[in-house]
């Protein structure tokens, strides 16, 4: 990390809305990067191995698979919203109040997405 061999005197900024938004974006990205190979692998494997469609269908009924896939969908939605936020901040001129509003709106959209996917499960 910093290589300065000193303790982190500063931590207050990690309570700020913007910082949290940035870190949620990063963490959702990391998780997506971890899940994506598995997602691809599952799609490829399931069809190859079972050859018959029935097997694949049964497989997707497994609760663990369902939850994992729903989680992936949720992460995707969150990462998408966070990404739109970054693109907008980097490429448009904003007044601070607007930025806060936009971040809050995007956060709300994320929560709505979560609720939606919990219901869809």
């Amino acid at each position: 990390m910093s290589g300065l061999n000193q303790r982190l005197h500063t931590a207050g900024h990690r309570r700020d809305l913007f910082w949290v938004a940035a870190i949620v974006h990063r963490v959702s990205g990391i998780l997506l990067a971890c899940f994506l190979p598995i997602h691809f692998l599952v799609l490829g494997l399931a069809i190859e191995r079972t050859a018959a469609l029935d097997g694949f269908l049964k497989w997707t009924e497994l609760p663990a698979v369902k939850i994992a896939e729903a989680g992936l969908v949720f992460l995707l939605a969150v990462h998408l919203l966070g990404g739109i936020r970054v693109l907008l901040i980097e490429n448009l001129t904003w007044r601070p109040s607007q930025k806060r509003l936009a971040t809050a709106a995007i956060g709300t959209a994320g929560v709505v997405a979560l609720l939606f996917f919990l219901r869809a499960l």
């Binding site: 990390m1 990063r26 990205g29 990391i30 997506l32 990067a33 994506l36 190979p37 997602h39 691809f40 692998l41 799609l43 490829g44 399931a46 069809i47 190859e48 469609l53 694949f56 269908l57 997707t60 969908v73 995707l76 939605a77 998408l80 990404g83 739109i84 693109l87 980097e90 939606f116 869809a120």
Partner: protein, 109 residues
């Protein structure tokens, strides 16, 4: 991150926005209407449109994710220079191969 990686990262991100929306819409439609996997596969099999849509999606995602992984590793691990580049390319190629195989399974098999 350098200029070129930054540009690719933002470019792939922007291009993926409509693709992700389409992907999510498909999923939401399928779960809401109780479309079974069998029906989905029935529609995807042999469809050039699906193959192109997801082919592009996989390509962009592989580029975007591998640059992202490189950035995170640069910040949060002690990797620097060459190992970072290897990590980026390795992860990108892995995603590309697995993605291509998944598309093949869904569209062609």
């Amino acid at each position: 991150m350098t200029l070129r990686l930054y540009l690719l990262q933002r470019l792939t991100a922007a291009l993926m926005v409509p693709l992700i929306v389409g992907h999510l819409a498909t999923i939401i439609y399928a779960t809401h209407h109780g479309v079974s996997a069998a029906e989905i596969l029935g529609r995807t099999r042999g469809s050039l449109g699906w193959a192109l849509f997801y082919g592009l999606f996989v390509l962009l995602a592989a580029m975007h994710a591998s640059i992202g992984v490189r950035s995170v590793a640069a910040d949060w691990t002690s990797l620097r220079g060459r190992p970072l580049t290897i990590l980026m390319w390795g992860f990108g190629v892995l995603l590309l191969l697995l993605g291509a195989r998944a598309i093949y399974a869904v569209v062609a098999s």
